[in-house]
Symmetry: C2
Subunit: 140 residues, 2 copies
Amino acid sequence: MTDMPIGEISRRSQVKVPTIRYYEQIGLLPAPPRSEGNRRLYGARDLKRLSFIRHARDLGFEIDAIRTLLTLQDNPAMPCAEADGIARDKLAEVNDRIESLMALKEELEAMVGGCGHNCVGDCRVIEVLANHHKCLHTEH
Amino acid sequence: MTDMPIGEISRRSQVKVPTIRYYEQIGLLPAPPRSEGNRRLYGARDLKRLSFIRHARDLGFEIDAIRTLLTLQDNPAMPCAEADGIARDKLAEVNDRIESLMALKEELEAMVGGCGHNCVGDCRVIEVLANHHKCLHTEH
DNA sequence: ACTTGCTCCTCTAGCGACTAGAGGATGCAA
DNA sequence: TTGCATCCTCTAGTCGCTAGAGGAGCAAGT
């Protein structure tokens, strides 16, 4: 459990070795003690922190947001409005992204469906891209 | 219509001035002729091309894909299977992204909804991030 | 003891698609 | 002529890694 080398914590946390070193470099993960031979030795706390980071990254949180989240986690007596705010902002962003991807999906489906695989001259894909007014959604 | 300076083509195409110069630099947009005073002078063709690029970028196509699409557009006699393929790939990608964003949305909603705005110690947001097994979706 | 092969170290540079800023030239109207 | 907007080139920065060079450490097998 304790004194893992970087390869092991990488396997356990599912975070790649260079990424772990990068997180140390930018101060997201504290620099661990080293072995006699100058190798990083990680403990259970580091694994927890790294898993937290990875999970947050998977959810699309940016490094800066994670930094805030980690500070909050380290100080459990603080009011949690800030953490809640970060999650709320992210949720709004995700909703926006879903919406525009749905519009895009429709547009792509129209392109792909309409193409009879002849030559480029008649291609719906190129045509839609070239003549914007033929789009389903004109706001972009 | 013809001999627009960069600012005007920027306004018309909705592509920012430095981005236009960047596109020229990477060979996506041909280098236009210059005025006596060394200023770029664009014509209607350039505006079309830039609008095409912008539209494709909005739709999430990468620069490399756009490069291919532009080559196809320049050669209307070629078979359009390639353009169709690019659009199909993009559609699959968009569907994937929508799916994972929907999962993410659920997870964020659970975080935000469950939090009673007390102190960090009881915060759902932090807790979910720290304890992965409490997620709605465990595959990530 | 020696070799093999893996993991680890630091360091620098690169990715995509821009964006920002310095420092200067040009164009046009009042 | 003065002032201001627009334009020019060039370099460096953004984000979140990723790749590669060149070398050192470590554990197991012969």
